[in-house]
Amino acid sequence: MQRDKFFKEVDNLHHPNETLVRTHCSYCGMQCGMNLRVNTKTNKIIGVEPRYDWPVTVGKMCPKGVTAYQQTNHDDRLLKPLIRDDKSLKGTKLGFREASWEEAYEHIVKNFQKLQKDYGKDSLSVFSGVSMTNEKCYLTGKFARVALGTRYIDYNGRFCMSSAAGGFLRSFGVDRGSTLPWTDIHETDCLFIAGSNTAECHPTSMFRIWNVQERGGYLIVADPRETPIARRADVHLDLRPGTDLALANGILNLLIENGFADEEFVQNHTNGFEETKELVKQFTPEYTSEITGVAPEKIIRAAELYGKAPNAVVMFARGIEQQHKGVDNVSAYTNMALVTGKIGRAKSGVATFTGQGNGQGGREHGQKSDLLPGYRKITNPDHVKEVCQFWGITPEEMPKPGVSAYEMFELMDQKVIRGLYLLCSNPAVSAPNLNFVRNAMKNLDFMVCSDFYLSESAEFADVILPTVTWSEDEGTVTNLEGRIIKINKAQEPLGESKPDWQIQVELAERLGKGKYFSHLKTARDVADEFRGATKGGYADYSGATWEKIEKQDGVFWPCKSEEHKGTPHMFLDKKFYHPDGKAKICALPYRPPAEEPCEQYPLRLTTGRVVYHYLSGNQTRRIQFLRDMCPEPYVEVHPETAKKYNIEHEERVRLFTRRGEATYKVKITEAIRSDTVFVPYHFGHEESINLLTNPALDPMSRMPEFKACAAQIEKQSVKKV
């Protein structure tokens, strides 16, 4: 149990006729602790009470967390299965009729079986998400491979975490999002944070981050915008979107040149140093400045501070990862820690700010097209054998690897994939190049969507299955530290809604695969099977029992046995997970963004989040408080740029790229580069900025380049009334 200086022994306010259910927020990777207030007469969730006893967040929550409970009994909840018979209404909210679960299941099974009979097993696909428990993520992978027998399964982490995963695997041989617990962060001497709008996307990290400065430590932030965290940074590296790789190489070059390399560490625990040293030589401050647009003095200062700091942590997020060189960016920033040896000890290390609640756990256990439980590879025959044995199928029955999330839409467009089971995701808002993606969904022969609200993606479905919110089921998630925690059930499922694991078991039974699923009668049953399935994998959860999680405030994986306490700090023994035990320092040549500004599209468009909304906004846009705070998207424009285009604050302008266009209200601010514009992505239909974004994929992680493309603004002609 880590009890640090922020922890205070405080009682909760306990109203009569109420129970407090200890749990965590439904939204981001911080997984802030919270108590849900449940009325003991109605057995309904009625409010929230801080959870002061949670060591990571000590009662703190952002406005999403404070209002998260309002999702459960919201008027928009789907309470019964819905079927739409008229396919011409696809892409609208119209034409759905209520149906019984039995009718919905029958309809699904009939259509799934027909498609597979006519077009083969792989004509079906599963698209899932990681805002759900490990148990559900695990079972979704098993459902796709065993119940449907399709190779096409992938998930929304391809739009979120996959570049971090790829970079960590390459650098360390293992992908745990943070090499150290969050309770270390305020004790470090220098934080280098790249591409993370932390104050808005992971707000409850901020009290620890500010504390570094209060103690006299330094904060360095790399971001094209002067975000709330960049505003107070000691050095703000205001780079052009999509140029991180040059910045990271430039800083590495200075670290090496100025003698900050830890020779002993580099020699004994890493490979690739000499080659990388050669490569980064060309990235002088001047050359780096030319590419990134950051003043050379700032680059020099940042390298000096990081180099001198006795302890330092490098952190990053989607800003550097959602690029078509996202994996390279991750490895390049990770190089800083490997070259200086600031890793594998307390208060130093590398971390990504995991976006989704279970972005870490959800990617480890087989929802990804090439992965099986416990981070096993579907391309590794030994791994396949282990999992087949556990599931009771033969290796021949195990489908081959599939394709990544965005590529699934390409296969839908080509009619290779004809059916889709979508759950826990809203790609009609969150995928790039939405005109294409929405059209691919519209042209599917058959689509099932499981959600608790009628999302923009559900508008394309033939059948909608009402699932539960996070508060009506239990299970584990893995937070951004790599700490496995427990989500508890506070209320019975509303209406006829069911948890996704139960839906999958019942569907599997009707698909004739009951013998692999029917034993799963409770969330606990799924949990026990899940832990067993991870045993022996990299991400070994087998020792992370619910009891242990409760007793020691979570369990950091790997946790290989009942006796093992878990692993808060990675690599304390300086052993990395590559076969030779060494980490890899990577020589990474610079590549510009896939689409650079040109005469027709002279601006750089970048996208991101606001503090009031989560992902596609399907949940948060329905919460009154959050909606009031941010009802619609906007485009941030620097005053100089606004002047050039003759546009004013709050005026509506047309923003367009090679792929699409949308109209946004202008928000003028000096807190952005003058060559860059920014739009938050949480909004649907014609407000979606992803109509404009570029689907250029990272060659390794298959992450689309949400963070940089070329755009143009046009003043709207004044309408005559």
Binding site: P50, M61, P63, A199, F207, W210, R232, I668, A671
Partner: protein
């Protein structure tokens, strides 16, 4: 041990979680009683909360012709008593910070009561509990004094609770500039 609301304005990230949290207090009828302002919205992202300072001799209560604004033994300046408030809105004008809000439908003033149902039993107020940046904190006088020593401003102006517009307040405020006095580690 008596604790006070303490504000470190320079920490604010504008998340407005304090507003969301204020709607969640018992007896708050889901209406928040605090404010967060964009300091210079066209220029940068600086924000700051504006909270009731719980003045020792509060102008709102002084101005009230109906004795509707009571002062709790903890020092909290409470929201208007429903049965006494006549809706004259004197208090909304008298308060130099514009804290009291007015509900025209109910003809009733409402304001921050320092989450009295929590703080009377030593439980931190909602806003200070959730504030992710530690702009709002709930501290003992000793802790506040330690802060004062830590942030030894070179201009000699420790800004907390100086006699401002309304003399002594129960809430302590540290204006932007807290990091000025910090000695860097290296």
């Amino acid at each position: 041990m008596k604790k006070r609301l303490y504000l470190e304005l320079e920490n604010c990230i504008g998340c407005r979680s304090c507003l969301a949290a204020c709607t969640q207090c018992g007896g708050h009828e889901e209406r928040n009683r605090n404010y967060v302002y964009d300091v210079n919205p066209l220029v940068n992202r600086q924000t700051m909360p504006l909270m009731c300072l719980h003045c020792v001799n509060p102008a709102c209560a002084r101005s009230c012709p109906a004795q509707a604004i009571q002062i709790h033994e903890t020092g909290a300046v409470l929201s208007a008593l429903v049965e006494k408030c006549i809706g004259c809105q004197n208090c909304t004008i008298a308060c130099p910070y514009g804290i009291p809000k007015f509900d025209t439908e109910q003809n009733l003033m409402y304001k921050c009561d320092l989450c009295i149902d929590r703080t009377k039993d030593g439980i931190p107020p909602m806003c200070a509990s959730v504030c992710p940046s530690n702009t709002l904190q709930w501290l003992t006088d000793e802790e506040i004094e330690a802060k004062q020593k830590q942030f030894n401003l070179d201009n000699g102006k420790w800004v907390t609770s100086l006699p401002y517009l309304e003399s002594e307040t129960n809430v302590r405020v540290n204006l932007p500039g807290i990091l000025q006095g910090v000695t860097k580690l290296f």
